[in-house]
């Protein structure tokens, strides 16, 4: 499937993946973040169940300590 990740095209072998799978595949390791699928917030406790499908617009923002 093809999706848009942070405004760039991305391709995955599977037809659909969970947010947790995407984070693993992309090696997005930093622990705190915001994830949105098609503009909708996906909370941390929804990562294992939220499905990313072909054509979805996924946005991710790392939240770095410091302020």
């Amino acid at each position: 499937m093809k999706i848009t990740l942070n405004n760039r095209p991305e391709e995955f072998i599977k037809d659909e993946i969970t947010v947790s799978e995407m984070l693993n595949i992309k090696r997005f390791t930093y622990k705190m973040r915001i994830v949105k699928i098609n503009g909708k917030l996906i909370k941390r406790d929804e990562y294992d169940n939220a499905i990313i499908r072909d054509g979805d617009n996924v946005q991710m923002l790392y939240l770095m300590s410091g302020g």
């Binding site: 622990k31 705190m32 503009g39 923002l61 770095m64 300590s65």
Partner: protein, 201 residues
Amino acid sequence: MKFSEIKNHLAGYTVGIAGAGGLGSNCAVALARSGIGHLIIADHDIIDIGNLNRQYYFIDQVGMKKTEALKENIRRINPDTRIDIYNTELTRDNIPVIFRDCDIIVEAFDQSEMKEMLAETILSVWPERPLIIGSGLAGYGKTNKLKERTIGNTLIACGDEESETSDDLPPMAPRVGIVANMQANAVVEILMKMKDHENYT
């Protein structure tokens, strides 16, 4: 537009500031100087001498509650800005109450866990309310790495999105101040696009 007209417009809005450390104190001061009518500032911390390397406080305020010191400092800059303070730790339960009347909210925490908690709470309760996040400001230099990124219409991230503070990469006044003022700049830009108390679109 003249500054007097900008100030008159901004006087009609309420901005929430979650945290009164390096980001929150500097952002609040910039917003008060710009003429924002009402600031709601929440923090439960006390000023430590180590905070003075970047936070908008003075040596004789060490030991004071940050919210009370910041309210006093802003009063000395622009007494026309109304300041409401909450000396409390922000949680998923009290955030929707404390920031209920805000037109826009600034995330100004230090810890990434708190940043995520606030973002999840705000975006769940008010998906369309503008939220300005600070992410990535550790160390010094690398000015060109600092940027503003808009996600959707109303979520804005300011910072380099990669540097994290540590003993060897401390937060310092120049870079923290830049990001705090980027956040204030984003607030002003969004509020200037709003018609009087209409929702942001």
